[in-house]
């Protein structure tokens, strides 16, 4: 026979166990609520940042008469077609390996379609590449001395020496400028000029407006081209020439 005191204690123990369970459930709920609130606040802040960026973000400039988002008046042309019928635009990154792989193909095509196809190079340095933007500035600085072609080629020919290094390649690029016999003082000035960077960012903004997300991205007469082989390239160009 359990005596009444014992029974009272049993009840108390049960109540306290129940209370504890409730307390635990309450804490569990709070734990979840606070965590979800934190995530919610994070999402709201993120969305706000996105919206602000959208509104004040770098809009690609207005398209003036005689140019397009694909080819601006100041875009660098590697070769020019007399009739201007077919234009191949490449958004490129000097540190991107796929771009380097495409480089000899594009060089061959330039030779093969000399005078028939306009080849345009647009800067699209990707942020994941440490020296891509520097390389673009180096090429743009050389372009100021009419050596765009030479510096462009030099970048791809030497990419394996300076690419993927994660250390600033300024001196390497300066060496290229010297080798090409450029006016180094002028090159230095252009290389460090914020206007040079602005010029590159204009190309990037155009690329983004056109939906470029990786490099190389080719546009043939305004149509995005995704060639799997050299033959694909030629077939597309031939078709454009024939049309």
């Amino acid at each position: 026979m359990p005596d009444p005191r014992d029974r009272g204690q049993t009840r108390r123990a049960k109540i306290s166990a129940m209370r504890e369970q409730e307390e635990r459930a309450r804490r569990r709920n709070k734990n979840l609520t606070i965590s979800l609130t934190v995530i919610g606040v994070f999402a709201v802040v993120l969305a706000a940042v996105f919206v602000v960026n959208r509104v004040s973000g770098s809009e690609s400039a207005e398209v003036a008469a005689g140019e397009s988002r694909f080819v601006r008046a100041d875009s660098h042309k590697l070769s020019v077609a007399a009739d201007g019928k077919v234009t191949l635009v490449e958004f490129l990154d000097f540190e991107c390996e796929a771009c380097r792989a495409a480089f000899p193909i594009v060089e061959d095509l330039r030779e093969q379609y000399a005078g028939k196809v306009t080849f345009v190079a647009r800067y699209f340095p990707l942020p994941g590449h440490f020296n891509a933007e520097r390389a673009a500035r180096a090429v743009e600085a050389a372009a100021g001395q009419d050596k765009f072609d030479a510096m462009y080629q030099r970048m791809y020919q030497t990419q394996s020496q300076w690419g993927e290094k994660q250390v600033p390649a300024d001196e390497v690029f300066r060496g290229f400028a010297k080798d090409l016999g450029l006016d180094l003082a002028a090159w230095d000035k252009a290389y460090n000029d914020p206007a040079t960077l602005e010029r590159i960012k204009k190309d990037v903004a155009d690329g983004q407006a056109l939906g470029v997300s990786g490099t190389p991205t080719f546009f043939l007469n305004g149509q995005k081209l995704e060639p799997q082989s050299v033959d694909d390239f030629k077939a597309a160009i031939d078709a454009a020439l024939a049309s």
């Binding site: 166990a17 804490r27 734990n31 934190v38 942020p127 994941g128 590449h129 993927e164």
Partner: protein, 210 residues
Amino acid sequence: MQRSQAEPLPELADAPLSAEDEEAVPFPRLLPRLLTTGGLVGLAAAFTLSIEKIALLKNPAYVPSCSLNPVLSCGSVMNTPQAEAFGFPNPLLGVAGFAIVTTVGVAMLAGAALPRWFWMGLQAGVTFGVVFVHWLIYQSLYVIGALCPYCMVVWAVTIPLFWYVTLHSLRRLRTAHSVIGYHAVPLTLWFLAVITAIGIRFWSYWSTLL
């Protein structure tokens, strides 16, 4: 306590004991499950990375399955010295470590009561893991400048493993008690901090995807 020692009532003996038990082990269900699934997920990621590394060794031109774009690129991460921090590929550590974690989880699910020294060993392991993973996060973000998706799976698994094993180890501390009640909050903040760091570091790239 007035009750006689000779015949304790079953309810009496039961209720406080089980409550104390649960207090002693803060995550009786969560921890074994976390160790098992976390271990398996980490093991899968580390194993895949090892296979990719072997493929890369066989053919240096091989493009790993997780090289998706300039930012999400295993290839550029796997070829760095940081990927062999101790002179051999890091995923080998993961294959061994996560297999142990999985085994511990399964043993707990099977009802094993593990001694203190065993937990200290596990604590040492996950502490090493979490420190190493944060070094790798730093290297990946600020030195290499690329992300490797499989590696990020390992980051995502190692952090909660460390967190819950540590709370389990510190359960007797008074300060740990309040944290245990809100265990998911610091973990959430931790994840958001890493996500924020990734977002800021590669902002200019992410914004091109929009």
